[in-house]
């Protein structure tokens, strides 16, 4: 990994995407993205996942269709997205303008010992998303690009977006948010009702 010095810090990426979030809902994929979101600061509109691997993007779609006046950000990892990559097709057909999917991609299954994922050598999730019909898919490699994308989460969009953000593979201290799913669900519903 000769590029590792230029790869981004995942905690900085999550903190940037979730800063000044207003009424935005965040769905976080199991494992490190959930810890990254918790490290950025607990929030009642965080839908922390601890399982349901491959389902984060579709949960985001259901929320985005149900809450058209809010933006929904799915923050997940390359392994989780690979398990549900076909849902790009479903999302592209529905075309929710208020859904963005940020995939922090380190080419590793960090939760299980750092085994390589398909994105480490062969697969390109940006191209996969575009191939399934996501109209706006891009790879981000700098914090300036991440910051610009974060700012755009609070502007009206016209189509769902996918951003693959290249991060360093590293094993950080786990920041563990609430695990009880019913508590997470009722907390979100109470926040949405305000």
């Amino acid at each position: 990994m000769s590029q590792s010095n230029s790869l981004l810090d995942r905690r900085a990426v999550a903190a940037t995407l979730l800063a000044n979030r207003g009424g935005m809902i965040a769905v976080t994929g199991l494992g490190a993205p959930t810890y990254d979101a918790a490290a950025a600061g607990d929030h009642p509109l965080n839908f922390y996942l601890w399982g349901a691997m491959g389902g984060a993007a579709m949960i985001g779609l259901g929320l985005a269709l149900a809450q058209p006046d809010r933006h929904v950000l799915v923050l997940t990892g390359d392994g989780e997205m690979l398990m549900g990559a076909q849902s790009f097709a479903t999302i592209a057909m529905q075309r929710p303008a208020n859904l963005s999917i940020a995939i922090v991609d380190n080419g590793r299954y960090g939760e299980t010992g750092g085994q390589e994922s398909a994105t480490a050598r062969t697969s390109d999730l940006t191209a996969v998303a575009a191939g399934f019909g996501i109209p706006d898919a891009a790879t981000l490699t700098t914090m300036d690009e991440v910051a610009a994308f974060a700012a755009s989460l609070h502007q009206p969009q016209t189509a769902p977006r996918v951003r693959v953000i290249k991060i360093r593979p590293e094993d950080l201290v786990r920041v563990l948010p609430v695990r009880d799913g019913a508590t997470i669900r009722t907390r979100i519903q109470a926040a949405l009702a305000q």
Binding site: G51, A52, M53, G62, A64, L65, A66, A89, R185, L192
Partner: protein, 177 residues
């Protein structure tokens, strides 16, 4: 695929009317011959958003998001897709969200394709082992009352229920030309 109008009974319209009465908005489905009439009706209903899935487990995740976001949904599939949902049904148990699934059964009454039999036979157990109640419908006159009872358990009671429409009810004509 053409629908045999002789066997296009009243029950798809009864299901549709029940879903409309319960203000169901997100109608997720994997394309299916037994559900073809109902799927078309959902496409023709302005208050319903038809959502074609690539695989059934997407629907479990979608409807979890819909429920948390305050919208009611339903998932239409055939029995061959039930096994695809097993791990994703953890979401429904963990988050205790309501879930209504309507399944057209294959692999039982007059099935010509033996590949449908294993998953068809395991469908009730696959749901029940993940905490989803099943209720089976064999006769056309039972569809309306069963759907209403299931919808009430789900949307008023917060339960997870799968209604299994038997292959005898649907009729082999839908599948074989």
């Amino acid at each position: 695929m053409s629908i045999d109008t002789d066997s296009a009974a009243a029950w798809p319209a009864e299901i549709h009317a029940t879903l409309e009465r319960y203000d169901v908005r997100q109608v997720a489905y994997v394309p299916d011959g037994g559900h073809a009439v109902l799927i078309q009706m959902a496409h023709d209903t302005p208050t319903m958003r038809p959502i074609a899935l690539t695989t059934e487990e997407e629907g479990i995740a979608l409807l979890t998001g819909a429920a948390v976001g305050g919208q009611r949904g339903v998932l239409l599939m055939q029995s061959s897709g039930v096994g695809n949902c097993v791990n994703m049904l953890s979401l429904v148990q963990m988050c205790r969200v309501p879930l209504l699934v309507i399944v057209t059964m294959r692999g039982e009454w007059g099935e010509f394709n033996p590949w449908q039999i294993p998953m068809g036979a395991a469908t009730p157990q696959a749901f029940e082992m993940m905490g989803v109640r099943t209720v089976r419908v064999d006769r056309p006159e039972e569809v309306g009352p069963t759907l209403d009872a299931a919808a009430r358990m789900v949307y008023d009671g917060g339960a997870a229920v799968a209604v299994l429409l038997s292959q005898r009810l649907i009729g082999a004509k839908v599948f074989v030309k």
